[in-house]
Structures are given as structure tokens and as C-alpha cells.
């Protein structure tokens, strides 16, 4: 007998799998990004079902709200040649399908064996249990070391992005504000002394 929770889980799970499949099969890259958004939202639904409210909301706010919007901008701005991209698609499809099928078969074989799904029950917390508070406590106490390394990782990404993109191009026509401000009268104005013409 299925209870309501199980039904909701299967709905979200099916939606996630469908959206993920459409991400890689959609012809239009903008549609692919939108399907990725759907995949994120449905997986955040699964997290809500697991009572991980904070993570679910963060997934929507950070990934859907910020990251995917940036993604969408980038995809819209790139001039992607779809025809060239799909040239080899059909040629490699049978090979890819065979490999993927083999892997799915192996995974199902291992994970589908009865020992794997042996009864594991989740721990239920009281209604006033705040997992935001618990996460905050853990991140700044037990997990402070990995948290700091993650911060370093972001710093490295920042340094790398700037090092790779910020460079002076010889052909760019940009204003140098410092030079404009520091300009002196003698740089702009040339005083030419002329003898006054006489009347006659």
C-alpha cells in the first residue's frame, strides 16, 4: 500500500529523471538550461520530503535563482552552431547507447540485489527541530576545516578567473582615466607666439 509520501517521492523522482534526460536531448540549448532548472526544482522537492528544508531552499535560491540565470545569459550570448555540434551525434549514438546500457545493467544488477535495499529507516525529528541551526553549528565547529578549504577554493577560482581574463589587449580602445586626470595644460595646449601684424 502506497502512502501519500511515497507517491510524492515518485512524482518528484520521475520529474527529475525526465528533466535530466531532456537536458541532454533538447535541441535548443536554452531549453536544455530550462530543463536543468526543472531538474533542480524537483530535486529540491525530494530534499524537502527528506526534511532538509534549508538545503532545499538554498538549492532553489542559489542554483535556480543565481547560477542558472547566469547560465542562461551565457548560453544566450554564445553563438552556438547547432548543426556542427550535432554532426557526429548519430554516428556515435549506437556506441554511446551500448556503453550506457551496459553500465545501467551493471548498476541495477549490483544495487537491485535484495541485500542492498534491506530495511533502513530515516530518523524522524520533532517538528520544532531546526536543521538550519544544526547546519550552522556543524559548519562552524566540527566542519570548520573543510569549510575554510572550500573558501580557499573559491579564492583560487577568483584568482584564476582574473589571471585568465584580465589582460591588456593591444587593439582595445579604452580610456585611461588616470592619464586623463593627470593631464597638464602643456599636454593639450600649444601656445604659438606670433608677431602682431602691423596696419600698413
Amino acid at each position: 500500500m502506497m502512502n501519500f509520501e511515497t507517491i510524492v517521492f515518485y512524482v518528484f523522482a520521475a520529474l527529475t529523471v525526465f528533466a535530466a534526460l531532456r537536458v541532454i536531448t533538447a535541441r535548443n540549448p536554452v531549453h536544455a538550461v530550462l530543463f536543468l532548472v526543472l531538474a533542480f526544482i524537483s530535486s529540491s522537492g525530494i530534499w524537502l520530503l527528506l526534511e532538509a528544508e534549508f538545503l532545499a531552499i538554498t538549492l532553489v535560491l542559489v542554483y535556480v535563482g543565481a547560477v542558472m540565470v547566469l547560465f542562461l545569459f551565457v548560453v544566450m550570448m554564445l553563438d552556438i552552431n547547432l548543426v556542427r555540434l550535432r554532426e557526429d551525434f548519430w554516428r556515435w549514438l549506437p556506441f554511446g547507447l551500448a556503453l550506457a546500457g551496459l553500465m545501467v545493467f551493471q548498476m541495477v544488477w549490483v544495487l537491485g540485489s535484495p541485500a542492498t535495499s534491506a530495511g533502513k529507516t530515516a530518523v524522524r525529528h520533532a517538528a520544532d527541530y531546526s536543521n538550519t541551526k544544526e547546519l550552522g553549528r556543524l559548519i562552524y565547529t566540527d566542519y570548520v576545516y573543510p569549510f575554510e578549504i572550500a573558501a580557499v577554493l573559491l579564492l583560487v577560482a577568483m584568482v584564476a578567473a582574473i589571471a585568465l581574463t584580465l589582460r591588456r589587449r593591444k587593439d582595445s580602445k579604452s580610456q585611461v582615466v588616470a592619464e586623463q586626470v593627470a593631464v597638464k595644460k602643456s599636454d593639450r595646449l600649444r601656445i604659438v607666439k606670433m608677431r602682431a601684424e602691423s596696419r600698413e
Binding site: V110, A115, T116, V144, Y145, I149, L153, V156, A160, L164
Partner: protein, 483 residues
């Protein structure tokens, strides 16, 4: 545990991070075009880190940050060698990068960040810290490979490295999440205990193990996960190739041995079988394909694949001999690879890369001393006595035979013999062929001096390997064989 007591064992990491941030800012104020002040600061930082690591060393194993960080003898030894390797890389590559306009503050800052990532990997005792350390290292390396923006080859190499690296990280993470699902913990010791107790689901464990080993194989660059190695080694500027091919191998040794030996020791009969396949395939493909290469960097890339296969042989043999010889092999490989890539940079000059086999023709006539040093390095890579490469191979083979895999040792010797061909071909080119160019070798005295120390070190360690070997054996005994 109290946070303050946790900070002591990690003081070298903390110092390195602070100094990297200081250098990042200080470099803005430095006006010299050769970045001498930044360079001196970076070398000073590495030296200080080494001193701090020695100063904070304590006997036994110290856990910190809620068991996420471990400070033991193996970690300290590998960290000191990492500092040495990065420092040598900077000395070798300074002139090379200056003439190519790449010797920037960002290069040095990224090298320091990569060092930090390696330190985190070496001292990790938790899947989270292992993974984060690996990412700090990889991200810095991707950026460094791409730093030469105007070179299409370097950009392509960076792209391949980045995408395949991300795929490998994904595999590794997926495997780790399976192991977490089976054991309920991310801490290596707890994972090992959970598997030992038999409470963990065996199917799920093996499922996760396959992904973890695939991810590790990707990062080590062993067959069949080796595709990125030749392109990245070839495409990246030689200084970056040297960084990728040297110190990270030490961190990779620590990474693999901590996951497989400390965390997944109870699954040893599963993973040692996988490692046998990876090792034999790597040695075969690496050595055979290297013969066909005319580009030296590509040849060394395939030789790296073969060497990593040899390293896995030591790991799968187990025991003090096995792990000790694998660590010894990693250290020796780093020394040889620094020398070999250093020689390419030494012979390069403005607008010219000495990365083809023909560029080494008749080196003996141009500079007998450099030719002799290259001879030592090549003999060592091939495993010719009395150089240290021979002893490294010998101790690994010894461990393999003791573990009862006689056929594996025979295969390894045969494949090494094939590998000897392409190393000795360079010796033949240097001594018996006429030089193609007579351009003077424009190397600074500091690089030539370091190259002499490096080359003679390979010989000296080969004559007296006992000290380094016993350091490796004691380190693995104190660090890996506790459980």
C-alpha cells in the same frame, strides 16, 4: 577537541595560506618586470613552511579538527619533499618563463595554492578534506596550464585537463557518496571500522569502490584513464608540465594510500585485483607508446603513465615493503622528472623549445657536463644501476615477489626492458650523433647548479639508498599500518 589545539598541527598550512594572500597583494605593488621580489618572497615562504613543518613535528599520530586532519611522519616527510619540489620547479622555470612573459605574480600565487592543496591532501583523514584538497590542487593546475593565453595548444590542453578532471572528480565523489551510504561515515578510520565490523552492505561498498578507484586512476593518469596525460604534458608550457609531473605525484601517493590503505583496507582483495589490471595496462601502453614519440614532453608523458603503473605495483603488494617501496618510488620519480623537464627548459631559449628528440643530438659536444647529467637522469628513469631508479624498481619488484605475484614481477621487468629503449635512445643521440645547432646554451648559473645537484643526487641516492628507504619504511609503518 578544542580549536586552539587543532591549529598547532596545521600551522604550516595556515602560514602558507596567509603568506599566499600577502604575496597576492604585495605583488600588486611590485613594479619590477622580472618579479624578483615576489620570487624571493615565494621561496622564503616555502622555506619557512618547511621549518614550521619540522618545528611542529610530534612523535606518533596527531589528529586535529575533529579527526579531519592528521599529522604523522608520512605527512611531514611528504610535505617537506613537496616544498622542495615546488621550490626546485620555481628555480628551473624562472628564466624560461621570464623570456615568455609568463613569470607573473599570478603564476607564483597559483603555484602556492597548488602547494596548499597538496598539503591538505597529504594530511587528510576524511573524504571531505581529501576531495577539497584535490580540488584546490586541480583548479590551480588547470588555470596554470591555461595561463599562456595566446597559445592554442596550451588552451586546448587546459580545456581537456579541466573537463576530464571534472569528470574524474564526479566519479570520485559518486564513489565516496556510495561508501558513505554503506558505512555512515566519511572519516577514514570510521569507514575502515564499519567495514571491518561487517555491518556495511558489501554490494554497495564494492559499487562505491569501483567509482573511487576509477576516479583515483583518472587523477594518477593510469590506463585506461590516461587520455589526458599526453595532451596536457605536451600542450602546457614546460614549467607547468614540470609542476604537474612532479610534486602532485607525492600528494597522489598520499591520497591513494590514505583512501585505499587506511580507509578501505578490509576491501583489499577487491581493490588489489583492480590495481593489478591498471598497473599492467599502464606499464604496457606507456612503454610501448613512448617508443613512437618524437616529442620529448609527450614521451615523458607516456613514461609517466608507465611509472605510475609501477607505483601501483608497490601499493598492491601491501605490507611495509610494498607501501614503503611505493613511497620511495614516488619520491625518486619526482626527483627524476624534475631533472628531465628541467633539462628541457635549460636548453630552451627565447622563441625556441628544446622539446624534440633531435634537439638533444650531440649535446655532448655542446656541453659535456649537461650531457652527463642527462645521462644520469635517463639511466635512472630506465632503471640502470648504480642510479637510484634501479633501486626504486628493485625494491618494488622485491615487494611484489614477497606478496606472491611472481608473474607480475616478470611482466614488470619485461616491460621495463622495453621502456629502457627510449631512454637509452636519448643517450645515444647525445653522445653519438652530430649536433644540429651550435647555439650557445643560455642557462643561468643557478639552474645549472641545481641541475648538477639534481643529477648527482640521482647517482648518490642510488649508491646510498638506505637512508631514504628507511625513512619511507618508517613513515608508512607509523602512518598506514596502524589499523
Amino acid at each position: 577537541m578544542d580549536l586552539m589545539t587543532s591549529l598547532m598541527p596545521a600551522s604550516a598550512e595556515i602560514f602558507l595560506l596567509i603568506m599566499t594572500c600577502v604575496i597576492l597583494i604585495a605583488d600588486l605593488l611590485i613594479k619590477q618586470s622580472d618579479r624578483l621580489a615576489t620570487y624571493v618572497l615565494v621561496q622564503f615562504t616555502l622555506l619557512s613552511c618547511a621549518l614550521i613543518t619540522v618545528g611542529t613535528h610530534e612523535n606518533g599520530v596527531v589528529y586535529a579538527f575533529n579527526n579531519m586532519f592528521v599529522d604523522d611522519l608520512m605527512a611531514d616527510v611528504l610535505k617537506l619533499l613537496t616544498f622542495l619540489a615546488v621550490s626546485m620547479m620555481l628555480v628551473y622555470s624562472r628564466q624560461y618563463l621570464i623570456v615568455r612573459g609568463l613569470f607573473s605574480g599570478e603564476f607564483m600565487v597559483l603555484a602556492l595554492f597548488a602547494t596548499l592543496g597538496m598539503m591538505v591532501m597529504i594530511s587528510a583523514n576524511h573524504f571531505l578534506t581529501l576531495y577539497l584538497g584535490l580540488e584546490v590542487l586541480s583548479l590551480s593546475l588547470y588555470a596554470m596550464v591555461a595561463l599562456q593565453r595566446d597559445s592554442a595548444v596550451a588552451t586546448e590542453a587546459a580545456m581537456k585537463y579541466f573537463i576530464l578532471g571534472a569528470l574524474a572528480s564526479g566519479l570520485l565523489l559518486y564513489g565516496m557518496s556510495m561508501l558513505y551510504g554503506a558505512t555512515g561515515s566519511l572519516e577514514l578510520g570510521a569507514v575502515s571500522n564499519a567495514i571491518q565490523s561487517g555491518a556495511a552492505d558489501k554490494n554497495l561498498l564494492v559499487f562505491g569502490l569501483v567509482f573511487v578507484v576509477s576516479g583515483l586512476a583518472f587523477k594518477l593518469g593510469v590506463v585506461p584513464f590516461h587520455m589526458w596525460v599526453p595532451d596536457v604534458y605536451h600542450g602546457a608550457p614546460t614549467a607547468m608540465t614540470m609542476l604537474i609531473g612532479s610534486a602532485p605525484k607525492l600528494a597522489a601517493f598520499a591520497f591513494v594510500s590514505r583512501i585505499l590503505v587506511e580507509g578501505l583496507q578490509p576491501l583489499v582483495q577487491h581493490w588489489s585485483g583492480m590495481l593489478i589490471i591498471l598497473a599492467v595496462a599502464s606499464m604496457a601502453l606507456g612503454n610501448f607508446t613512448a617508443i613512437a614519440q618524437t616529442n620529448l614532453k609527450r614521451m615523458f608523458a607516456y613514461s609517466t603513465i608507465a611509472h605510475m603503473g609501477f607505483l601501483l605495483l608497490g601499493l598492491l603488494s601491501g605490507g611495509i615493503e610494498g607501501y614503503g617501496s611505493a613511497m620511495f618510488y614516488a619520491v625518486v620519480y619526482v626527483l627524476m622528472s624534475l631533472g628531465a623537464f628541467g633539462m628541457i627548459m635549460l636548453l630552451s631559449r627565447e622563441g625556441f623549445e628544446a622539446d624534440n628528440l633531435d634537439d638533444f643530438k650531440g649535446l655532448n659536444q655542446r656541453s659535456p657536463w649537461l650531457a652527463f647529467l642527462m645521462l644520469l637522469l635517463m639511466f635512472s628513469m630506465a632503471g640502470v644501476p648504480p642510479t637510484v631508479g634501479f633501486y626504486a624498481k628493485f625494491s618494488v619488484l622485491n615487494a611484489v615477489i614477497q606478496a606472491g605475484h611472481l608473474w607480475l614481477a616478470v611482466v614488470a621487468v619485461l616491460l621495463s626492458l622495453i621502456g629502457a629503449f627510449y631512454y637509452l635512445r636519448i643517450v645515444k643521440l647525445m653522445y653519438f650523433d652530430a649536433p644540429e645547432s651550435h647555439a650557445p646554451i643560455a642557462a643561468g648559473s643557478d639552474t645549472v647548479l641545481l641541475m648538477s645537484v639534481n643529477g648527482l643526487g640521482v647517482l648518490l641516492l642510488g649508491l646510498l639508498p638506505g637512508a631514504l628507504m628507511s625513512v619511507c619504511a618508517v613513515s608508512v609503518q607509523q602512518s598506514l599500518l596502524l589499523h
